[in-house]
Symmetry: C2
Subunit: 241 residues, 2 copies
């Protein structure tokens, strides 16, 4: 589990025609706004954010109904204290608290999708390696779902592009192709690194990297995305291990 190779992490070395995926750094401001609830509350909050020049990166409705709790991640807010006062000036809002952002707490996410047996082994490798990097100041999460069937797999692969902080996808199974391969092409075009186990079907030929041993696949994926690792995906893209 050493760190050979050189230099830059994968997120700064996307190949030609690939976009940098968004939200791979901490936002300027992460706030939880709590109080009562009513129709139009979120619209009033976006109005306050707009008046302060803010860019909305993410919104999570933590609680709604009788009470409300809305978690915002924002950038480019001109005067954060003034925005907090503007939130508090909304009739039903009772409190505003600054929180560590999800990026600070959970960091980059590696998503492992496939069959239970292989997903578990990839997770073991990725979690063990993420532990070593997280101790040195990285933050890497390893998120998994065991699913069955081409449509479920393709949906799980495709939706990685919509998951906040996702940087890599590992496909862990014995046979994947068709719609799953289309999903691989789509998420790679969004700047997500795709690692495939050595398996039947057309997915391996479309992945950035093919790794036979699932534990090694988990370890290598973490190394490729960790800024604490010296491992350049460009030097090994397209190879099989």
């Amino acid at each position: 589990m050493g760190e050979p190779g050189s230099l830059s992490p994968v997120t700064t070395t996307g190949g030609p025609g690939r976009e940098e995926a968004p939200l791979r750094r901490p936002p300027q401001l992460a706030v939880l706004v709590e109080g009562g609830d009513r129709k139009g509350l979120l619209h009033d909050m976006t109005a306050a954010i707009l008046r302060h020049g803010g860019d909305i990166l993410s919104v999570e409705i933590v609680e709604r109904g009788v009470r409300s709790a809305v978690y915002w991640e924002l950038d480019a807010v001109r005067d954060p204290e003034s925005l907090e006062r503007a939130f508090l000036a909304i009739d039903v809002v009772a409190s505003v608290s600054r929180l560590p952002s999800m990026f600070q707490v959970y960091g980059k996410r590696i998503i492992v999708v496939g069959a239970g047996a292989q997903v578990g082994q990839v997770a073991i490798g990725a979690i063990g390696e993420a532990d070593r990097h997280n101790i040195r100041g990285e933050k890497i999460s390893v998120d998994t779902i065991p699913v069955v069937g081409e449509e479920n797999l393709a949906n799980a692969a495709r939706a990685v592009a919509r998951l906040p902080r996702a940087v890599a996808l590992v496909l862990a199974g014995s046979l994947m192709g068709g719609e799953v391969t289309e999903a691989v092409d789509q998420v790679r075009a969004r700047g997500i690194l795709v690692v495939s186990l050595n398996m039947a079907g057309s997915v391996p030929a479309h992945a950035d990297l093919v790794v036979t041993d699932p534990v090694q696949a988990g370890v290598m994926t973490v190394m490729a995305v960790a800024s604490t690792a010296r491992f350049d995906i460009e030097r090994i893209r397209g190879r099989r291990f």
Copy 2:
């Protein structure tokens, strides 16, 4: 890995004084709105949603800058086709696509937090058991982060309440107390099931369930949250295995 006990999954049996956590079911509408980007775009979209009576459950900014891609999960929209037309009527919006919701794709989330060695073993148990339930129509994800230090652990535990679709937290380490125990009380009050390994510190005494073997802890947590399992957390709450 059988399913003993009886009846209802944990999410319907929260004890006295505990809230039902939100967003544990599919939203009415999940749409991706794509096009150009500019200041105020999100505010214009929330105005359209408000005019259609919609409740915003979640917003993810998938892409921004030159192009924009905003993923909405909504409820209570009176006329979804009319809302789609209203989105398309915004100057920079080019396309609106309905997508499977994150709940349909990744389902309920179990979050495993702690030290790499134990987190990996809990993941093995949880992923293996989730595989069995997902084959029968459930959707359960197992999301993990290996972290070190009381503050990091407490932040990771506390933020589970802000994670979409999170239903359970497993604390997997050798010693946890102090701030982490406060975080356990806070997330339990939000309706999150907390399972602890048998470890030193005050966390086990505050958890819903204490399990010595990490693989078994992962399996039991999945059984407790799976609607395909017959396992009633109320019958074993506070016990140690």
